[in-house]
Symmetry: C3
Subunit: 324 residues, 3 copies
């Protein structure tokens, strides 16, 4: 939705420097921007703003004089202001019917106003989807799954498949009942081909505002707190809880019945053991996950170990090299 | 399918204590159960059984007197008995046609009695599916794939895609023929968005009773033995074999041409090298995978290393701190 | 497409030994081959060629006399010659319409000659697909994605979903615009359920000849160089570049803004940190990734550490065992 530079400055609460009437139609990086684009410069890349052809640039301080065909808007956080302005600039009235004709939707399903359901989606019995959601093509919602408002689910995601629960009977495995459901709260985004299993006897819950990347696995009975981000290919095992405002890197593995405090931060590929309680507020890394400082110190010692052992052995007159 | 407390006691071979005629219609956890639910208490949670509203509870010992509206059934393994009873209680006659009208099924496909094929499934040429299977929406079976009886395949799983095999020709890669197939034996369950590749010149085989979680990758020519469980996001590379009755954790990586003995147990995120033979019967962890006790001992030493090196150096009068 | 032994020798530039007129209709392993099959023997398995029933065998040296019903063809690289010959032998004229009737294709899409689009594929606005491509069932191409010639995309792959980019606004996350696209160059193969995200403001690019396995995650703005192979379940984070002719093992994790030189080789489960520059030409392993030799040496030291510490402590008269 076309905006003037003045409108963008009002929208972002910024200080306009230069013409008020520059017409902006889209957004772009500094490098790719044309005269009708809004762009932004992070403080350390401010110099690049001078070379850009953008019609208007969000900055934290004005780098040069604005000109007749370029404005700057000074804001506290240019990247955030850019993301907020982009929401308005890129908004388009949706054309066509909101529910694609190839979507398979059980008659019992309820779908809120403004929600779009893409080609080939499958929504099972008693599924509820709120208002303003986007389901991209081929999303599967198993029966009874409940989706809040303004939720985005990318192609191929599967919500509500059976949890992975079996009971051993001699050599064989007997399926444990998987009759719980999944609740996805408002403003959640779920990546392509991600899987979120239904609860076994309880409910799997993804709380408000949480963002989940592609190919993530969330097992039965898990609860993910509000405003948490989970990067691609991470797996969270059954009955674990992740506290609100946590940041979980890619390919992290979290065991069963683990309990992560609010604001837990886990580096990529970290591993949390079954039943573990994890403290929030600091960065953890490695398997088993430990404080980042500790992990890096151990890695450093490990890499120096051969030399130290050799030195000690020479001093002690011990025979042989370490690797002998 | 509704059952009385007496019927459940007969079904599970347990000892009924309390009324025989309590009518049970579903199952639930102790916490969520209502009067028409069957529940169970594991020995350590036996006390919780007292607070439950369940009409009938499977226990390993009766915690209190049964009452006019609650029975206990004493069994050796309450969780197993609960899973077995749930199969009967939750059984429903399937309504509607078993093959969804949007499934795309080649005319050469054979499908056994009682098998259900969900919306948007695609079954290629000469695919065979046995009796009593459930294919959830959007499962893809490439040509020639063979599925046994009572197999469950969750949404988005892809069985029989080409293996990842190429031969180098200078800088370029030439595709190696991927013309084998996949055989899935009886009673296997396969998770959502899991991929099982066809053999290149041989066959990829998943033996009877094996359970595979979501987002698992099984490469060409792999053979997985009977009654094995494989947790989410694990990857098994080409031509490896996993022995029967193994337990493979989540995010485990197994290299090419590895050979895992029967009853191999691999902890989450463990890594097995190409060509490696892995002994069964004990828990292995880490990359490269080693016995759990060894792995934990090494981790413990690693964490104490800085202090020990410092102490040794002080004693020896060696200059500097380890990290200097 | 049926070939004689003579034709195969000409096709592969090999030296024919034995009858010229053996008719070959397919390919098989030495073990499975019948009289109408072409097979091959790698040098170390040459002895196995004697037991095979194959009508013609590609070898690096003739192991025995050819006979009236079996030829050998001597080539420098039997496996490569086999793969090349298989391309011709297994070629079939495609029957049926190339675009499956259940594919959902926006009217603005352009599709090149000879390209096949499987059941349930979804191709969004302005998608371009070149000639000779195969899209297996249920591939999703988001709007504006561009696919070159002779590209193979396996079932369930999702190309062009939004990148995982958000800007923090207090506790909440605001979506960063994801309006770039994806370009897949010629001769690329993409595995089942793999996800390649669109660029945020730039373009995600997969260069010519690169092969990507199943369940791989490629984030926004990534560029993968030519003739690179990426094994299953690997994840490459936003704005990273992988140099041409690289070999990336399975379950590898690469952080954001990393830069991998040409011919980088990463072992399975290796981890590359955010912003890291990785040198090519040698094998790297572990997290953080380091040269293989170094990694193995450190692992060896780690496993011997308990014994060495004990020995040193005895010598020094230090009290207690290491683990005391």
């Amino acid at each position: 939705m076309r905006q003037t530079s003045l409108q963008i400055s009002e929208l972002t609460g910024g200080q306009l420097s230069g013409p008020e009437n520059i017409v902006l139609e889209s957004v772009a990086s500094l490098k790719n921007a044309a005269a009708s684009d809004l762009s932004y410069a992070e403080p350390r890349f401010q110099a690049n703003a001078l070379q850009s052809n953008a019609g208007c640039i969000l900055v934290s301080a004005v780098p040069v004089e604005a000109s007749a065909n370029r404005s700057f808007i000074v804001v506290r956080n240019p990247k955030l202001a850019f993301a907020q302005a982009a929401t308005v600039l890129l908004w388009k009235p949706q054309s066509g019917t909101p529910i694609h004709s190839t979507a398979v939707i059980d008659p019992s399903v309820t779908i809120g106003e403004g929600t779009r359901v893409g080609a080939g989606c499958v929504l099972g019995q008693n599924v509820k989807v709120g208002t303003g959601c986007v389901l991209y093509p081929r999303v599967v919602l198993y029966p009874n799954v409940e989706i809040g408002d303004n939720v985005i689910i990318h192609a191929g995601a599967v919500i509500g498949a059976d949890g992975f629960g079996f009971v051993k009977d001699g050599d064989r495995y007997v399926k444990f009942p998987q009759i719980g459901t999944v609740i996805i709260e408002d403003d959640v985004e779920i990546g392509a081909n991600t899987c979120i299993d239904r609860g076994s006897l309880e409910t799997t819950v993804i709380r408000r505002g949480t963002k989940i990347d592609n190919l993530v696995q969330i097992a039965h009975n898990v609860e993910i707190g509000e405003h948490t981000v989970i990067a691609a290919q991470t797996g969270i095992s059954g009955s674990s809880t992740v506290g609100p405002r946590s940041i979980i890197g890619g390919q992290v593995g979290i065991g069963e019945h683990a309990r992560l405090d609010p604001q837990t931060i886990l580096g990529g590929q970290a591993g949390v053991l079954n039943g573990k309680r994890v403290r929030g507020g600091e960065i953890l890394w490695g398997t088993p996950a430990r404080p980042l400082k500790e992990f890096l110190e151990q890695q450093a010692h490990l890499s120096r170990l051969p030399n130290w052992i050799d030195e000690i052995k020479r001093k002690l007159g011990l025979r042989g090299k370490l690797d002998s």
